[in-house]
Amino acid sequence: MQQLVEREELIKRYLLGGLAGGELDEVEDRLMTDEEYFNELQLVEGELADDLVFGNLSEDEEAKARNLFLVSPELRQNLKYAEVLWQFVAETGDESGVNTEWESALAEAQENRYLLATLTNGDWAGLRLLATAKSSPRRKPDLAAGTVLDEDALTTVLVRLIECGVIEEQDGVFFCTGLGAEVLEKMERAAGVSLDV
């Protein structure tokens, strides 16, 4: 647990421009060569946007974070999304009651059901998109080419596939994740067919 906290502190210092020398080289080489570490950096980056919006940073950290998020169009957009999301939550309020234990126990079953529905609805559109993304990462127009989905329907399916963790989007390119590849392999084994496109 302590190691996890230290690792994330290091990532945060990196994102805020606080590393140099060997530490800097180590983090950057790792983000290039270790997919999970790269994903962790992206996760911390997203949380840093939240911290900036919520005012959870020191004055110095805030200034550095503003520099970071204002550099690229994508990060500026992510910061805006964080601001809009916070505003939406403030207006909507907390939707929950407390989950009972049995609801928590059913959570995994609910997730599986949601994934199955996402893959099979609309004449297996989700499965086709996942298999296409697995064959090679694609942009939206390339993914759309293999389906009869309109723009709205395509976005909905992609959003749900991202929610389920089987696809991820980076800079407009959609990738099949490790989990997505695993799901496809399991389905291929169960059905005795290849889902290659």
Binding site: Q77, Y81, V89, E95, S96, A107, P137, V159
Partner: protein, 191 residues
């Protein structure tokens, strides 16, 4: 493969040199294509995180320089090719200062307000696309973790019966899904 291979990977990348690069990355074509995309995206984020505005151009320049070196390095290089790309990126970064905030585009407050309003409407629509469980989770997460986030995350994760790390990954995925949906909605409004 995505458009980046056809148009984004620098002016010096011919079909022949691209095939050489892919073969160096992995003898399996599918794995090589994925590896190429991962490396390119990692390079873009690397330049972004280092503060360079035109990160895509720098990433493509890095790829071009590596490709030019391939005939020389392929017979003897050992190790992850991604590390070699990093080494080349460092050489490009070294003599250049990162971009300053004063070079960034500005918008009027009216444009900002209009964009925020549209984003809000799109977010509202996109919340409806999420599963009920994920919608509830993301609303709870943002409502409860505004301050003292460490304890709030721990409490929420415990309530949901999952480790904190799983909660954070799930929130990250939901956030990504919302970004994709909002981006699509905003693009559709511009058409």
């Amino acid at each position: 493969m995505s458009d980046s291979r056809d148009t984004g990977a620098g002016s010096g990348l011919t079909e022949e040199s691209l095939q050489l690069l892919l073969h160096w990355l992995d003898p399996d074509a599918e794995r090589a294509a994925r590896k190429y995309e991962e490396i390119r995206l990692s390079l873009i984020k690397l330049f972004v995180w280092r503060g360079f505005v035109d990160a895509e151009s720098f990433a493509d320049e890095t790829i071009d320089r590596v490709v030019r070196k391939l005939p020389e390095i392929m017979p003897k290089y050992q190790g992850d090719p991604a590390s070699y790309f990093y080494g080349m990126a460092k050489r490009i970064m070294r003599p250049l200062p990162p971009s300053k905030p004063s070079t960034l585009p500005t918008t009027t407050s009216e444009e900002d307000k209009s964009e925020s309003e549209q984003m809000h409407e799109c977010l509202s629509k996109c919340m409806g696309v999420l599963s009920p469980a994920n919608r509830e989770l993301i609303l709870n997460y943002y409502a409860e973790t505004k301050q003292d986030k460490i304890n709030a995350r721990r409490a929420l994760a415990s309530k949901l019966g999952m480790p904190v790390v799983n909660l954070r990954v799930r929130v990250h995925r939901i956030r990504s899904a919302l970004h994709t949906c909002i981006g699509g909605c905003m693009a559709a409004r511009e058409e």
